[in-house]
């Protein structure tokens, strides 16, 4: 696994306002960087820029590296950055198993089916491959969604408030499952809740500035 390195990222709105200015960070495999800040401060825009799906009207500069490879100009599908959003977005026309098979890369049919079974088993969802996603609970859906992302063999994981829609009891369980599953990957987590961050994570706080709008204070501190 390689570190995820963002170098000199600046995001500017069409009106000239800065969302992010000269942001630089590096996340080693197994580390979690937590991006926090008020709504509209540009956290999700940073993730969108990293995945190559940012609004084209936003002016962006800077580059992103996975190990020694610069992936800034690669199309989204070539970046190998796994993404989980607030909603799980399990595809409703596919069964749970088909959703996982869709994420999985390569392998023969038998290998693929075996990997999907293993993945479901790891997520505590044995035998659910034939289920319609709409029949799953919120926590089960979140686990399937994460399993699907991990089966695509990403080089880093980007999480955009993935726990915010879960109830309090389920949150802790899914947090643990997520940090256990992504233990070997560099992870960037966007959240409003410091309790979402795992032990030893680094918090990057995005604050406000009256003059130029929200800018990065690049203040690093240990979580909790």
């Amino acid at each position: 696994m390689h570190p995820l390195h963002v170098n000199g990222l600046t995001l500017q709105l069409p009106g000239g306002q800065f969302l992010v200015r000269e942001l630089t960070f590096r996340i080693e495999p197994g580390e979690v960087l937590v991006l926090m800040g008020p709504s509209g401060s540009g956290k999700s825009s940073i993730l969108a820029w990293l995945t190559g799906t940012a609004d084209p009207r936003i002016c962006a500069s800077g580059d992103v590296w996975l190990g020694d490879t610069c992936i800034t100009s690669l199309p989204t599908e070539k970046r190998r950055l796994g993404l989980m959003l607030q909603q799980d977005y399990l595809f409703p026309h596919m069964s749970v198993g088909d959703n996982l098979l869709f994420g999985l890369r390569g392998g023969t049919r038998t290998e693929r089916l075996a990997k999907v079974c293993d993945s479901l088993s790891n997520a505590g969802l044995e035998g659910m491959q034939g289920r319609d996603p709409s029949t799953l609970s919120g926590g089960q859906r979140a686990r399937v969604s994460l399993a699907r992302t991990l089966l695509s063999d990403p080089c880093a994981l980007l999480l955009d408030e993935p726990f915010s829609r879960l109830d309090t009891a389920m949150r802790e369980q899914i947090r643990r499952f997520t940090w256990d599953s992504a233990a070997r990957l560099p992870v960037l987590l966007v959240t409003h809740d410091t309790f979402d961050a795992p032990e030893g994570a680094t918090i990057l706080d995005i604050g406000q500035s009256d003059a130029v709008g929200p800018v990065v204070r690049a203040e690093m501190k240990d979580a909790r």
């Binding site: 199309p75 989204t76 599908e77 796994g82 977005y89 869709f102 994420g103 695509s152 990403p154």
Partner: protein
């Protein structure tokens, strides 16, 4: 029981003509009405040497055009979605959709015929032609011009239907997730979006297929004549009293043919969906190709440009005095055709407008009544039934309606024509209003009732004003649908109602291009005016309300 009576009456008004129409076609075909249609219809039509050729041509043009419409729609969606061209297309397509088929067909002929505007633009400088070439003809024997006309007219319909469904499918999020999982945009569309989208546009596709297989006016203008398409061939039979049974039998066979095509589509759907599921499980990511996007953009631009160019050529011809071949543009202009009170334009325009207004008004009243009954639990939610007239071939229904109208002595009557138009406008009005009606928050009505307002007051003061936008759009679409009706007016009007559609198609062979172009322009302008008014009226209502409120608040402050 009494609560449901209005719904039963409305259903009977709509459903009876359909049942009677089908019976009126089937009985003469079976030889059950020897006075009206003597002879064994099926034997007569099957023995006719033109039948097989006409059937094959209908299949070729109808299925070919439908396949291309589906293909172009998918290509346009995949390659244009979220682009600036998509925004432009979304604004351009609705007015193009309002232009009647016959007008587009005539415009295409004037554009791409050997003596058409395109050849004139290139001659003689590039082609060297000083006379119109005779190397190809419109209509061509292969039905290619008919396919072209159907494709450029029907693609916007399917594309807009599909576009209206996209917001419910989380397209952007699905594309984002799919791409971060490593799939190319085209693969994301084929594996994530299209399998969810297709069931939502299936009905529209089937309506388009039924239309393409059975269209008459466009086939008369763009299709070959020997053999013609099956519906045109049947029209030639129905005008001959001795061949009425054969025409009816042919109409029954055409309905069967359409039903078989529907069945084939359903079987193909199953096959494609099975293959797609297997392929989606394979995990093959695919490679993104910018060439595909460029191709899609070019295709969309070409298709829309062709429609706009066809309409522009019509406009030019309608104000032309002299335009000799190979001049690139007219050498003399004549605007007096539009301003001299020309009765060959004004009479059909008035006839068209009165029939369209009456049919649209009836459709609005019927649709609002039905939806209100449905909302109050007095009518079931049965959307499918309203689409039957669009799924059954027009000739199969109208031959029967014509026979029934003869029988009760109602043929040629203005109300009969309006009634027939109502049956064809109703599905579109229901389609547009049903969504808005069901989505309107019932809390508005509850709040008004709580303030002491009765049912009618709530309907007219609260619900209808809140739904003014979809009501205006539905009315405009009803006008557009009615203005385009050729066959219902021809068969039920008994030659007494010379609408623009009738005048345009019947005068196409003989009258000079300038008059034909003026008729086509007028036929296109009426629905466009309705669309513009539908756009402006809700705004005018809002502005008037704002003025009224401002005045009231000033008076209140003064007092």
């Amino acid at each position: 029981m009494w609560r449901r009576l209005p719904a039963v009456l409305l259903l009977a008004l709509f459903g009876c003509p359909i049942v009677l129409g089908l019976l009126g076609t089937l009985l003469p075909a079976l030889g059950a009405t020897p006075n009206l249609a003597p002879g064994n219809g099926f034997a007569m039509v099957l023995q006719d040497s033109r039948f097989v050729g006409a059937t094959l041509l209908s299949l070729k043009t109808g299925l070919g055009a439908t396949l291309l419409v589906l293909l172009f729609t998918i290509i346009a969606l995949v390659s244009l979605h979220n682009s600036r061209l998509w925004v432009w297309l979304s604004a351009t397509l609705p007015p193009l959709l309002a232009v009647p088929h016959a007008a587009i067909a005539v415009g295409l002929v004037f554009l791409i015929a050997p003596s058409g505007a395109l050849v004139r633009l290139l001659s003689p400088a590039i082609t060297g032609w000083t006379r119109p070439p005779d190397m190809w003809l419109i209509p061509d024997v292969y039905g290619l011009s008919l396919i072209l006309g159907l494709v450029i007219k029907e693609t916007p319909f399917l594309l807009l239907t599909a576009a209206a469904q996209l917001p419910q499918l989380n397209v952007d999020a699905s594309l984002k997730i799919g791409r971060t999982l490593g799939y190319s945009p085209a693969r994301c569309w084929s594996r994530l979006i299209l399998p969810q989208l297709y069931p939502r546009i299936r009905l529209t596709l089937l309506i388009i297929m039924a239309f393409n297989l059975t269209v008459v006016d466009m086939a008369l203008l763009l299709g070959p004549s020997n053999p013609p398409t099956l519906s045109v061939f049947l029209m030639s039979l129905v005008n001959d009293p001795g061949s009425r049974a054969a025409a009816s039998a042919g109409a029954v066979l055409l309905a069967v043919l359409v039903a078989v095509c529907f069945a084939v589509v359903v079987i193909l759907e199953r096959l494609v969906s099975t293959v797609a599921r297997v392929r989606a499980r394979s995990g093959a990511r695919g490679r993104g190709s910018s060439l595909f996007r460029v191709f899609g953009k070019l295709l969309a631009l070409l298709s829309v440009s062709l429609s706009i160019a066809a309409l522009f050529v019509l406009l030019i011809w309608s104000v032309t005095q002299r335009w000799r071949f190979p001049d690139a543009y007219p050498s003399a202009w004549a605007f007096d055709r539009w301003f001299s009170g020309n009765s060959s334009l004004i009479d059909p325009a008035i006839s068209t407008l009165t029939i369209a207004s009456a049919a649209a008004l009836l459709a609005m009243v019927a649709a609002v009544t039905w939806l209100e009954l449905e909302r109050r639990g007095c009518a079931p939610k049965i959307d499918g039934i309203w689409f039957i007239p669009l799924l059954v071939p027009q000739v199969s229904l109208l031959f029967g309606w014509q026979a029934m109208a003869y029988w009760v002595g109602a043929d040629g009557h203005w109300l009969t024509v309006v009634y027939t138009h109502w049956l064809y406008t109703m599905p579109y009005v229901i389609l547009i209003l049903a969504v808005a009606w069901r989505e309107l928050d019932p809390a508005w009505s509850h709040a008004a009732h709580a303030l002491g307002a009765g049912y009618w007051r709530v309907l007219f003061i609260i619900r209808l004003p809140l739904l003014i936008k979809p009501l205006s759009q539905a009315f405009a679409i009803a006008i557009a649908v009615s203005v385009a009706q050729y066959l219902p007016t021809l068969l039920l009007g008994g030659g007494r109602h010379q609408t623009l559609a009738i005048e345009l198609v019947t005068s196409f062979g003989g009258v000079d291009r300038r008059t034909i172009a003026a008729l086509a322009v007028l036929q296109s302008v009426l629905p466009l005016i309705a669309f513009v008014l539908a756009l402006l009226y809700p705004r005018w209502c809002s502005a008037r309300l704002a003025r009224k409120n401002a005045l009231a608040s000033r008076q209140w402050i003064r007092s």
